[in-house]
Amino acid sequence: MVEWTDAERKAIASLWGKIDVGEIGPQALARLLIVYPWAQRYFKAFGDLSTNAAIMGNPKVAQHGKTVMGGLENAVKNLDNIKQTYAKLSVMHSEKLHVDPDNFRVLAECISLCVAAKFGPSVFTADAQEAWQKFLAVVVSALGRQYH
């Protein structure tokens, strides 16, 4: 069972309240595909990913980024039960999509960097970063939980 301090709950809620999933989601997914190009293996149906510009302008990447980021809403609303909340999604990523769970960790890093760039050091303080990264780490762990 994950223990959250009051400060962490506040920090996560506060950051989430400021985040525009339609903005950060596409940025984070594009970054994943550019910085870790081997992740493109899961997106063969997305069309042109041949250049960085193509990735950044790809509407399917943008849409999927928004979907993934929006999925975090469930975690924010169920901080004390993230493992259960993501059980089905975990099964799906393992059995249907066959995604190497290390990609979740790496996407989480990209999300954090996009959030950091968006909000700067006065909002994304060390304490905010701690809470946010802990939150994402719990989600990443839950998503990898049902793999076998």
């Binding site: 970054r31 550019i34 910085v35 950044m56 890093e109 700067g120 050091p121 994304f124 970063q129 701690e130």
Partner: protein
């Protein structure tokens, strides 16, 4: 009828040549990566002190297990004197590495020995500090920290970590 081209001498020779060109280590830095890192670092080095200090502060806050290496410090809080000082030392070494980017292994030999035999820092922590450096750069230079710069820096910091781990065993 299937004609196997893979065994023809021309294909084999070409393949061997390509392998030689590419096989210089895991994901080694291309000329473009080095250019990108140098250009970005030139832009940010004016704030090197702040970058180093903030990166170390964040590392200690976000990954509290890293505090185990600093039990001899009086004050581990962000902005404290030991944190600022250590951040300065680390960032100066990174700046030095940027200037010697063409031969990281050679130029980091002494530092590697220091980390291997004296400091005995678990190399997993290099990746942790690298992540925090990237976060700081993203917060301070959001416009310049493009995906291209992000990738080149990620590769560079990875190469740095490998060079630092050279002498461990």
């Amino acid at each position: 009828m299937f004609r196997c081209i893979y065994k023809t001498p021309l294909f084999a020779a070409n393949a061997a040549l390509n392998l030689k060109k590419k096989s210089r280590g895991k994901m080694s830095l291309s000329a473009k990566d080095k250019e990108t890192v140098k250009a970005f670092w030139a832009k940010v080095s004016g704030r090197a002190g702040d970058i180093g200090s903030d990166a170390v502060a964040r590392m200690l806050t976000v990954y509290p297990q890293t505090k185990t290496y600093f039990s001899h410090w009086k004050d581990l809080s962000p902005g404290s004197a030991p944190v600022r000082k250590h951040g300065g030392i680390v960032i100066a070494s990174i700046t030095d590495a940027v200037n010697k980017i063409d031969d990281l292994a050679e130029s980091l030999l002494t530092l590697s020995e220091l980390h291997a035999f004296t400091l005995r820092v678990d190399p997993a922590n290099f990746k942790i500090l690298a992540q925090n450096i990237l976060v700081v750069l993203a917060t301070m230079f959001p416009v310049d920290f493009t995906p291209e710069v992000h990738m080149a820096l990620d590769k560079f910091l990875g190469a740095l970590a490998r060079a630092l781990s050279e002498k461990y065993r």
